[in-house]
């Protein structure tokens, strides 16, 4: 999933200050899973903003709505009927959601309420960790299913560096050393030989070679 966290309330208030009728727009997918932009969080943020406005005596209307996915046209279109009532959208979607909504409704400003962070997993209740960089050429097979790009602090493909101590990363003892995990996993399955050879430099053109990436699937087009 794509994870995110809500921006500080003061920053949000500053960004929405010029507007009088605001739609706080939640997203029911990734950001709901990471408890930052789902229905519940959207309701909470909207009421917090209403309260703050009331205390300051500001005359604004803040309403809320949550759609299933902000990053998919078919869902965004549901806003067609209501959006005319507002002069700004405060989106609790990820960065892609914010941009998809503004692409669909170019006449209205869409303001981000979240800081979008990483592709990750829910590790435990209230804990999310980064696990993929979206590099465009997955190498997990070679590294025992542990991503050295997302999980090694120095993105080393021939690790571990000299700072790996007791399975922890030199950058922060709270971080598990990805390379300790890689070695443990590979030895468990008797595949340590996969990292005896030098892994060549990463082909980053798969990630940023041609500018912003695009997937075109003719078989999926109507």
């Amino acid at each position: 999933m794509i994870t995110g966290e809500q921006k500080p309330i003061d920053e949000i208030r500053e960004m929405i200050a010029p507007y009088k009728r605001i739609l706080a727009l939640g997203c029911g997918s990734c950001v709901a899973e990471c408890a930052s932009g789902g229905e519940k969080e959207t309701a909470m943020l909207a009421s917090l903003l209403r309260m703050a406005a009331k205390i300051k005596g500001e005359d604004v209307i803040i309403e809320e709505q949550t759609i299933d996915r902000q990053c998919v046209k078919e869902f965004v279109i549901q806003l067609d009927e209501t959006i005319g009532r507002y002069d700004a959208v405060l989106s609790l979607g990820c960065g892609a959601g914010v941009q998809a909504v503004s692409a669909m409704f170019p006449e209205i400003p869409v303001i981000p309420a979240l800081n979008t962070e990483f592709l990750g997993e829910t590790k435990d209740q209230g804990i999310w960790v980064e696990s993929c960089l979206g590099c465009g050429d997955c190498m997990l097979y070679h590294f025992g299913g542990i991503c050295p790009l997302a999980r090694c602090s120095k993105q080393i493909l021939n690790g571990p560096c000299g700072g790996s101590i007791d399975g922890k990363c030199e950058v922060n003892p709270d971080i598990e050393c990805a390379w300790q995990l890689i070695i443990d996993r590979l030895s468990k399955f008797g595949n340590l030989d996969r990292i005896e050879n030098i892994y060549p430099p990463k082909d980053w053109s798969k990630k940023q070679g041609g500018g912003p990436r695009k997937i075109v699937r003719e078989d999926q087009q109507k």
């Binding site: 021939n158 560096c161 070695i183 005896e196 892994y199």
Partner: protein
């Protein structure tokens, strides 16, 4: 005048090599690095110049090496992959060779979070092993990554670092083997205080025949005080300072601790000389360069052999 690496010359002649280290200044004054280097002249065969060490902005390592070269010293250009992508790294290797710099040490570098630019983007386009391999291919095949041919290959003696004290222990020697396979002509190790662990790492390296394929220089750093020993033990990633060392430092009065630090360092070098496969010593006395001469003298490393290269 043939422009070759003095370090390479000494090692290939089978002499026990000595390298030192100095850090470029936090400013644009060329005199500072030249003064530090003068303290090392005659006491070492070559001297490493650190590359924005601990991710703190300093004068460019390459420029500092150029200054030392002009002063008639043999610099070892340290290059970290933290700050440059493969275009800049390869370009700088060519530039270094053009300046007459004949040794390069390819490193990962300390993470940017530890320095004075924690908001910097860490590049890490190549890792240190891929970097070693890239430089070797440039030198030996005359080609860069992707295969384009150079009109003149760089002439550099290629070094890499090794930390025998990091984990996982068994994998440390595999990684050393990878660095050698990538093309490391010489290896400088992390500071050695735990001689037992170092000896068992060396034994594993010998078993794999690695000591025949590269020149290993053991790293040492004189400790100034008991406080410094504790700091290194607890705060410096990948550093192994056994309790005996700390006790020894604490066991002498404060004004005698520097002398004790030098004594430990000299004893370590004497033991390193006895370990089969150790071909030299790398004395890292950052901000204590004046200690290097005394250490080298007391460890029986002086005078340094006369250079045949010019």
């Amino acid at each position: 005048m043939k422009n070759i690496s003095r370090l390479k010359d000494v090692l290939e002649r089978g002499e026990f090599a000595v390298t030192g280290e100095c850090g470029p200044p936090k400013g644009a004054d060329p005199e500072i690095i030249l003064e530090k280097a003068e303290l090392l002249r005659g006491n070492v065969d070559a001297l490493n110049v650190t590359d924005n060490q601990t991710a703190i902005v300093r004068m460019s390592s390459m420029v500092a090496c150029g200054l030392l070269k002009t002063a008639g010293l043999d610099p070892v250009l340290q290059m970290v992959v933290r700050d440059r992508n493969r275009i800049a790294l390869q370009s700088d290797i060519l530039g270094a060779s053009a300046l007459g710099i004949r040794n390069v040490l390819c490193l990962s570098g300390d993470h940017q979070i530890f320095g004075n630019q924690p908001e910097a983007l860490g590049v890490f386009d190549l890792d240190s092993i891929q970097f070693v391999q890239t430089v070797k291919t440039m030198r030996d095949e005359g080609t860069i990554l992707g295969g384009d041919v150079l009109n003149k290959p760089p002439e550099v003696f290629i070094g890499a670092a090794a930390n025998p004290f990091a984990d996982p222990m068994d994998f440390r020697v595999i990684r050393l083997a990878k660095k050698i396979k990538a093309g490391a002509d010489f290896i400088q190790t992390q500071c050695i205080y735990n001689l037992e662990r170092f000896e068992s790492w060396m034994a594993m390296a010998r078993e794999r025949g690695l000591t025949e394929k590269t020149f290993i220089l053991g790293g040492v750093t004189p400790i100034k005080s008991a406080g410094m020993a504790k700091y290194m033990k607890n705060k410096v990633p990948g550093m192994d300072v056994p309790d005996e060392i700390i006790k020894r430092m604490e066991g002498v009065p404060k004004d005698k601790q520097r002398e004790e630090g030098i004594r430990i360092c000299v004893e370590t070098i004497q033991r390193l000389k006895e370990i089969p496969g150790v071909k030299g010593v790398h004395i890292m006395a950052i901000e204590w360069e004046e200690a290097v001469g005394e250490i080298a003298e007391r460890a029986g490393l002086l005078p340094r052999p006369v250079f045949n290269g010019k």
